[in-house]
Subunit: 190 residues, 2 copies
Amino acid sequence: MGSFKYPMKFCSTCSAPVTVKVPLGDNRPRAVCDACGAIHYDNPKVVVGCLVVAGSSVLLCRRGIDPRSGFWTLPAGYLEKGETTEQGAVRETWEEARARVDIDSLYTIFDLPYISQIYMFYRARLRDGRFSAGEETVEARVFVERDIPWGELAFPVVDRTLEHYFRDRRNDEFPIRSESIKKRPIRRQP
Amino acid sequence: MGSFKYPMKFCSTCSAPVTVKVPLGDNRPRAVCDACGAIHYDNPKVVVGCLVVAGSSVLLCRRGIDPRSGFWTLPAGYLEKGETTEQGAVRETWEEARARVDIDSLYTIFDLPYISQIYMFYRARLRDGRFSAGEETVEARVFVERDIPWGELAFPVVDRTLEHYFRDRRNDEFPIRSESIKKRPIRRQP
């Protein structure tokens, strides 16, 4: 998000213009300040969320913001400094779906190198049956398997997590699943 | 690394001074530019590496740089933009231990919220028996279990990954293991 919307032009330490070049002893281009010597690294971001289970249903949120506004997703968002991935997943579930949850276990991990993101979803149980649309959400709803809006899911990581879940549920075994989504998928526009 | 060494004082988009405040609609302080409106996010970083197995031995690297210079570690480093965690783990293993490896599977995942990092180690096999000290390493060496220098390991994530491995090896089953290391450990100085 940061680097995409705001490419670095000036040194954030001393305000001089930066040059993109390979620093001495490094092997890839960075934003380097010739004035103060600062090297500014830009690294992948981690997105954390929950697959919230309520009985035989799962909780989905219809997005109120772009990208993919109007499509259904699992509550998730950027991990913040100072929190564990589990804490971040619980926080995002509250912010987006106003749902309090108890975490079972880490469940899916996705590499998305084409957008420099890692997604991590935890399996969680809805604590008190309550949820509602939070920030950035227009509707929160629980779905049984046969009602999942497969054609209206926001992101491939949502499809894959739900596919794994409904398959694993038959055996009641939920090993942690790690996979890469290597190409930018072609998706319908909303 | 970036934010610790170089706290943001100036907007990297327009060079005006930034103010640390909670943006409208947000819930935590960010570096905000009052001149151009840019909000600069700073998020946790991901470190990736390999537990390289060679027969009954594992590969360790003695660090040539701080922190923990002189102590033994698994080859690992920051994930870069545009690569998968597996690609990053393979790259770091080459850079630090000059070892070519074949990946078996993701193995351990650690939350380190006190330094805003996530570590991910892959199990891998040494491809051709060759390795040597790479950048930032003074010595690369393989160890059988009884020779592991437990008192001279660099980081708790190294201890934990090796402990899991030698225990899991008895059953020849290596499920993905996820855990948090919540407090800054007290470690001996080198």
